[in-house]
């Protein structure tokens, strides 16, 4: 059993199939990169995994719990980080952390808040309200809140959007560290060099369907076909351009 198991996931918006027959797994300590063009179905997939959108069909299991049948147990083990942080405008940074700590039943949340705020450069902003934070800081706060209950499954949707260079470096380190500690991570990003740098495996989706799935090296090797090394970006472009006419 893997911490993340997705079998034949499909999600329709009305008559429009946003995700079609998607299957993959993520092992402990593995980082899976979800890549695809705009509108490919990445965010829909991640939201279904987080229990936000009920799937039209298929099965999603988080740490063995079905997201539909045992949603509460599944959600205790995961943290979802959307591309657009939506915080509670009337709670300060510190109060956000306290709120999440109690919600997830983190026994010693007050002791855990300080190191997280330091990790994300928010220690001077404890009393600040979201309106007083930049977009990058809001993103960091959202991620700090998500890390507080030390989830085994982390789902990132464009995690580096709005971060400054130092923030990007720290975020990459944080993600890598959580993976090394055994967390299973999915991240979607258009920054293919980030995916290449951080991820162990990649799932390329187009028009809601999987068009390539494997380790980063396998994918690059398949594309290069013995004709030298290629970057993930080049591999992605070749895969999506090959697939595009058939759609």
């Amino acid at each position: 059993m893997h911490p993340i198991e997705v079998n034949s996931l499909a999600k329709n918006y009305g008559d429009f199939p946003a995700v079609k027959d998607l299957s993959f797994t993520v092992k402990e300590g593995e980082i899976l990169g979800l890549v695809g063009q705009n509108g490919a179905g990445k965010t829909t997939t991640l939201r279904a995994l987080a229990g936000i959108h009920p799937p039209t069909s298929g099965q999603i299991r988080i740490k063995g719990y079905d997201i539909r049948e045992d949603g509460v147990d599944a959600k205790r083990h995961l943290a979802f980080f959307p591309d657009e942080p939506r915080l509670f405008d009337y709670l300060s940074v510190d109060e956000h952390m306290q709120f999440i700590g109690r919600l997830y039943g983190v026994a010693d949340f007050r002791a855990n808040i300080e190191p997280l705020l330091t990790e994300f450069d928010l220690q001077d902003k404890r009393k600040a309200m979201p309106a007083e934070l930049s977009r990058g800081m809001k993103q960091k706060l959202m991620i700090a809140c998500g890390f507080l209950h030390q989830p085994g499954v982390l789902i990132f949707d464009e995690p580096l959007t709005g971060l400054d260079p130092l923030g990007i470096r720290r975020m990459k380190e944080s993600i890598s560290r959580r993976a090394k500690e055994g967390a299973s991570i999915i991240l979607s990003s258009h920054l293919l060099h980030l995916v290449e740098e951080l991820c162990d495996s990649v799932l390329v989706i187009q028009n809601g369907s999987s068009i390539a799935y494997g380790t980063v090296d396998d994918l690059k090797w398949q594309i290069a076909q013995g004709r030298g090394d290629v970057s993930l970006e080049e591999a992605f472009l070749r895969i999506t351009s090959e697939e595009a006419p058939s759609k």
Binding site: G51, E95, F99, R102, L103, Y104, V106, M129, A131
Partner: protein, 549 residues
């Protein structure tokens, strides 16, 4: 370029109408549109029948009716010069500014585009106004008047900006306008009639507007008025296009102001507008225990920081009333007490709207809520707890003050005998579940019809929005009535039984109130369960365009 702008304006109007029609495929929009149409048909249909004779007399160029209408029009045309805003330009959307200001379009082109875009709302306003007057056939004349007036307003706006550049500001303009009105009034009073040369000269042009707008004007005069009004509109357009002002800069300022107003309204709804940022949390959140407490804690903070203003006002008034009660005679005490009793009955209705720090506040963050490790039922119950606590406290204090006036400060009598601490407790324990029912209903409305209750960039207009409000209001009233009927049916036999066996003892209150209370509490529980189940299956993706914009 003018052709291109006219094309954009016409296509925009066409697309707006098509979008509105397409939305009617959605049953919710269709129902609300039908309700709205029915409402307008009822109201205006009645007006057409009832008012058609009001203007049945022919209104000639010199009639008194025409004099009054022309006088009013003169005042309107004059008063806009005293308006405080003195930015040039016109209000445009962000995308319109990006498109139009970067394109090789003259100011006249932008004004023409803006004028064309405004025609649909102007036409609707003209039809509505004439229907309300009971003379819908006069809509064409009203359209001419409104269209020309919009051009006049635009011209005056540019002229105000021009005057500011000449260091003639708001105070001077206001003074001049007031002086003119005072002077004309003085001359009219001195003459003792509207038929004086000064007023007739000043109202010569406004008279054409009045003739175009009013019904039953002879055809020749009507056609003449259409011509004059159109020529005046064209002149205003030409002046607006040529006057020396900072048009682009002014348009930016006006549009930014409008955008800020919309943002502020939406911020108030989603809780981004916070009155008391630094108010401390009501209690320290323990690390362990029921996770629902975290939601209640969060919403109580929201109640304090966002909803504190009404609480401060209510408590200030109540403190005053408590102190005041010691100094008023019994008769006044009775009046105040009865007023407070009335307020006690109103609080469940008002409070459910006033204290909305529940799902209504968090609806824009529903995706975040859905990631919380809580079942829908527990989350919904927790969300509603904070406003319930606040409403209960307010209700209890109101009841306490009522008792103070009607029991303790009144001489022994019928009122003092009925308004006892026991009856206050009885009313309170009924008021709380009624507040809960109303809160469940408000939360159900926002979850079942999020597009109706939340402000978004694409707001419905006209019949649809009126219908939505009607459906929600009627729905609330019907649900409240239906939920209270079983409790009311049980209440009467419960009182009779209590009176038979427990008359005069404290057991009376318990036996009489527990059965209906149990029914109301059961209904609340069922409501929360159903709402929770709906929350669990709620697919935010189907509502995203409305909620997340």
């Amino acid at each position: 370029m003018t052709g291109a702008l006219a094309y954009i304006a016409i296509i925009s109007i066409k697309n707006r109408v098509l979008m509105a029609v397409r939305k009617l495929k959605n049953a919710r929009y269709l129902i609300s549109a039908l309700f709205g149409l029915a409402y307008f048909a009822m109201v205006f249909g009645r007006n057409i029948g009832r008012n058609s004779k009001k203007f049945s007399l022919a209104v000639g160029f010199d009639s008194i009716g025409m004099d009054i209408a022309a006088g009013i029009m003169f005042l309107i045309l004059l008063a806009v010069w005293a308006w405080p805003v003195d930015d040039a330009g016109v209000e445009l959307s962000e995308s319109e500014m990006q498109l139009l200001f970067c394109a090789p379009v003259s100011r006249g082109g932008i004004l023409f585009y803006k004028f064309m875009r405004a025609q649909l709302p102007i036409l609707i306003s003209a039809v509505m106004t004439t229907v309300m007057m009971g003379h819908w056939r006069n809509a064409l004349g009203m359209w001419f008047v409104f269209a020309s007036l919009s051009l006049y307003m635009t011209m005056v706006q540019q002229m105000r900006a021009r005057l500011r550049r000449m260091r003639i500001g708001f105070i001077v303009r206001l003074t001049v306008v007031v002086a003119i009105i005072t002077g004309v009034s003085w001359v009219t009073v001195q003459a003792g009639t509207f038929k004086n040369p000064l007023l007739e000269t000043l109202s010569f042009i406004p008279r054409f507007f009045a003739m175009a707008a009013l019904p039953n004007v002879p055809l020749s005069l009507r056609l003449l008025s259409f011509l004059v009004v159109s020529v005046l509109g064209a002149l205003c357009f030409l002046v607006s296009a040529s006057v020396d002002v900072d048009f682009e800069e002014g348009s930016l300022a006006i549009s930014r102001r409008k955008a800020n107003t919309v943002t502020r309204q939406r911020s108030q709804q989603s809780g981004q507008w916070i009155a008391f940022k630094r108010l401390p949390p009501p209690f320290r959140l323990a690390a362990t225990g029921a996770p629902e407490v975290a939601i209640i804690w969060k919403n109580l903070i929201a109640s304090l920081r966002i909803g504190m203003m009404p609480i401060v006002i209510i408590f200030s008034v109540m403190t005053f009333l408590v102190v005041f009660s010691f100094f008023v005679p019994p008769q006044a005490s009775k009046i105040f007490g009865m007023w407070m009793l009335f307020m006690c009955g109103i609080i469940p209705l008002l409070g459910a709207n006033l204290f909305s720090q529940d799902l209504r506040l968090d609806m824009t963050r529903i995706e975040y809520l859905k990631t919380f490790p809580l079942s829908g039922e527990r989350l919904v119950a927790a969300e509603m707890a904070a406003p319930m606590i606040v409403m209960s406290i307010v209700e209890l204090i109101f009841l306490g003050i009522t008792a103070l006036y009607l029991h303790f400060h009144m001489p022994p009598g019928v009122i003092a005998r009925f308004i006892t601490p026991q009856s206050i407790v009885c009313v309170f324990i009924f008021a709380v579940p009624i507040c809960a029912i109303l809160t469940v209903m408000r939360n159900a409305a926002v979850l079942l019809f999020p597009a109706w209750t939340l402000r978004s960039k694409e707001e419905p207009r006209g019949f649809v929005v009126t219908g939505q409000r009607l459906v929600v209001a009627v729905g609330n009233a019907v649900v409240l009535a239906v939920t209270l009927v079983p409790a009311a049916i049980v209440f009467l036999p419960a009182v009779l039984i209590a009176n038979r066996f427990f008359s005069g003892s404290p057991g009376f209150l318990a036996v009489a109130s527990i059965p209906p209370l149990a029914i109301i509490a059961g209904e609340v529980w069922v409501g929360v369960r159903m709402l929770g189940k709906y929350f669990d299956s709620f697919d935010a993706s189907n509502e995203l365009d409305r909620i997340m914009t």
